[in-house]
Subunit: 333 residues, 2 copies
Amino acid sequence: MATISEIAKEANVSRTLVSRVLNNKPGVSPENRQRILDVMKKHNYVPNGLARALVLQKTMTIGVVMDDLCNDFFFDLISGLQDTGEAHDYNMLFCSGRKDIATRMKYVDYFAQGRTDGIIAYGSNREDEELFRSIAAKSVNCVLIEGSLDGCKINQILLDNFHGAYTATEHLIKQGHRNIIHITNDMNYDVSLERLNGFVQAMHDYRIPLGPDSIIYADCFEQTACQQMRRLIAEGKKPDACFVGADKPAYGVLRAAMEAGLSIPNDLAVIGFDDDTPESRDIVFPGLSTMRQPLYEMGKAGVELLLDAIANPGREAQTRTFEAELILRDTCR
Amino acid sequence: MATISEIAKEANVSRTLVSRVLNNKPGVSPENRQRILDVMKKHNYVPNGLARALVLQKTMTIGVVMDDLCNDFFFDLISGLQDTGEAHDYNMLFCSGRKDIATRMKYVDYFAQGRTDGIIAYGSNREDEELFRSIAAKSVNCVLIEGSLDGCKINQILLDNFHGAYTATEHLIKQGHRNIIHITNDMNYDVSLERLNGFVQAMHDYRIPLGPDSIIYADCFEQTACQQMRRLIAEGKKPDACFVGADKPAYGVLRAAMEAGLSIPNDLAVIGFDDDTPESRDIVFPGLSTMRQPLYEMGKAGVELLLDAIANPGREAQTRTFEAELILRDTCR
DNA sequence: TTGTACGCGTTATCAT
DNA sequence: ATGATAACGCGTACAA
């Protein structure tokens, strides 16, 4: 690893001239410029980014701390973040805690130690609140995605889960369904509770009483929801519509229903949430109606919010809330 | 962002003492230590990682440059890389070029500018050779995964695609199939060619002649392979076995076969490659027989190779080759 | 056009 | 136990 001093020495000039050549600045005679370039090439010289960032007090880097990189749910979000960041000439670095909160914390600290100009963190787990409060306490430009933090001055990108769930439930009601159930996600996540609340509110507003089987507690995986639906069917329960808290468990519901010979959507209408479906699914199932979460746009907005915070030190934290959109496919009328 | 000097000044000590407290080193009186800690807490002080890395000449960071982060094929590889890196106390940073080679190059340069102790790059596209040569030319510790580079001193983790394809084809032959076809991946990838060669060699060794429809050129997506298979069936061609260059297109083949009412594996045996199947697929299709690519282990080996290179400057580049394993499920006997 | 000198924030050496 | 000083690699006033 050659340094700027070594290059300067070999080219018989001062480091200043080498620096000017490096940054394409004027004030270097053509002969010197050429000789410096030659020496650089000869040694495969690359300037040290750490030293440069240290003196410039600018890294042109945004650190993204994800819950888990290995989840196709995040593809659109990651794409939105990366495209937008790079459109503004920022380097986008991703890392994840593999669902471990201590690891996420470690990476937040890592990024916050002057290695980035700002941090974007994703998380909606209830346990994340501690992490977020620690981020908010640091003097770091930061945006939270999906992680709400009441009473804290911190930039946030949120989805209106309550309203989305309300919309889905209302649609089922307006289609004439009355025996509607809701299958929840993992209750460790705030979003799950918000979606549950949206369902309950819609049922209440339309005067549809909730029975003991109206709310089924599952998680965000296909299997659990599938088993729950099988059990329901085995017990002779006959819901005519089902609002599921996410797409993956919704496929589990579809699977159980199809196994039992139910006709979709006539015997059972289904609406999911997120629209994070791989295209390949279309091959098999009827197209799943769902509430689309605009993850790409949310990632875009997250980067823009962060860059705005970087450009305007001291401006107060902002919150942008997105609405989910009802996407009608085959699983409901 | 408070600095160590500000902390020292406010605590009425030298920077040396603050540094010692920071690194839990002896040589500080209890009173001073406590006062310094108080001042640190008061200012939410975090040491600057850039300055520290600059003087220590050590970042404890590994940069991973992926082809594309948004592809579930890489989940196991990413997991193997991250788990292994963190087991050695390294920070693992991921980035991707979103299939754009210039962006990948940008991130390699970024990481190589002193920001990491080593780089791991993935890529098997033929165009990647230029990228890899440029990496090899840099004085950076680096490991290539899936990207072979002949005649270059660079650490590599490879899969024996030829042998894997040979094994798959041989299995089909030994099960009595004779009218065997191969559906290739995108021919821009080296791996596709290697797998094709393995197929051809096996057919040749067993004296099975190749016909005009023995090799079907497709890509790594479900749809193209599906269309090709539909065409084949429509034309009245009746292969009794099919070795597909990857799992995703293999599902496309299965789809076309099932649409045509073929019985799997009696009418048509199918073997894929990679074993990157999401579990959810099991719901629908018969379990796909495939050549499992040990991506987690390859990621683990990649990090270990890199750490070894870091620890032993000057040791010559190594290559580790992994073998694919035949996984028998429902789509072949 | 060219070079000197200082600063970025930290750690390490060597006195005291 | 404590602190002054040099060093890491680079950018930039400022002076020449």
